[in-house]
Symmetry: C2
Subunit: 188 residues, 2 copies
């Protein structure tokens, strides 16, 4: 990097989210974001491939760390608990900044293309978790079922968390949703 | 309709799937489909809004009938069983023609835009089922969790069904997946 720009990436992300919320994602250009963040457009593109990546650039790290948790789970851990552990890692990362997550979520929900992108990322995460379970020797159908179910729980917990008016931890919200799933299946 | 064209819609659907599989979805035009089906292009557009709708035109009927089942479920039926009943209706409709479902699935999986479209339809179905549960007086989080979980079960059962080399009924596959979900949650 040419100049030392402490926190440029975070400033760019904050500026981008503010502009997406104010003017809409489509109407905001990389140059607007750079200007708001007080950096050059070149600096923007040094940190993000494009304006969409400001919203999705952390998903590969999220997936990587979640998979590492899954792989590290003891063989004695049940299939669904292994998935829950992996998603707990994801929840810990996403949950560290609720305001940012809320803004990001609002921006994504307001744009059909971004919503599609988010769905694809989740489907990709589910497939990767299922692969991870297969590496643990779990059968094909059980692996898919556990990962799809885990993602379902995650989506519901996440929605509850971003909507919550009271103090709520995303990891707690997820644990509650997993408990609710157990009671749903037990009573059916 | 101008002329009486018995089975034109079914012939168009069959011709479209065959062409999508042979040449790819992108490369196939409405005129090619009409020609293969032995009808005019005008007839094609009388039955389908565009070539993509050949793959997705039945989803609104599917949703409507599934919701009718959900609404008809007795109040004593558990939340997840109500979802299972709704999805059983969907499975009965989709499951009536496995060869067609397999072809459709192959075509969709081969095209990124179609895969996205399919994900969106499923997300829409999940949201509609959750709304249906709320109409039954089910709480917000429980409604979302049950519908998302139901769709997860459905996806896994559907995949198992289209991949199956042996004789398998989609409704049975779904019942098996629901049973597997119960055992997954019981052991976690």
């Amino acid at each position: 990097m040419g100049r030392w720009e402490p926190g440029a990436k975070d400033r760019l992300r904050e500026a981008a989210l503010a502009l997406y919320l104010e003017h809409g994602f489509e109407q905001t250009m990389a140059a607007d974001i750079a200007e708001r963040a007080g950096v050059t457009v070149r600096t923007f593109f040094r940190h993000f491939a494009d304006k969409r990546e400001v919203l999705f650039d952390e998903s590969s790290e999220l997936l990587e760390k979640s998979l590492a948790t899954l792989d590290a789970a003891l063989p004695t851990v049940s299939t669904l608990d292994a998935v829950a552990a992996a998603l707990d890692t994801a929840a810990g990362m996403i949950g560290s900044d609720r305001e940012l997550a809320q803004k990001r979520h609002t921006v994504i929900m307001a744009d059909a293309n971004l919503r599609e992108r988010e769905l694809i990322k989740q489907a990709y995460m589910s497939a990767a978790l299922a692969d991870g379970l297969r590496r643990r020797g779990i059968g094909d159908a059980e692996a898919s079922l556990a990962s799809e179910t885990g993602l379902a729980v995650f989506r519901v917990a996440f929605q509850r968390w971003v909507d919550a008016t009271e103090d709520l931890d995303l990891r707690d919200a997820m644990r509650q949703s997993f408990a609710q799933l157990r009671s749903l299946t037990a009573s059916s």
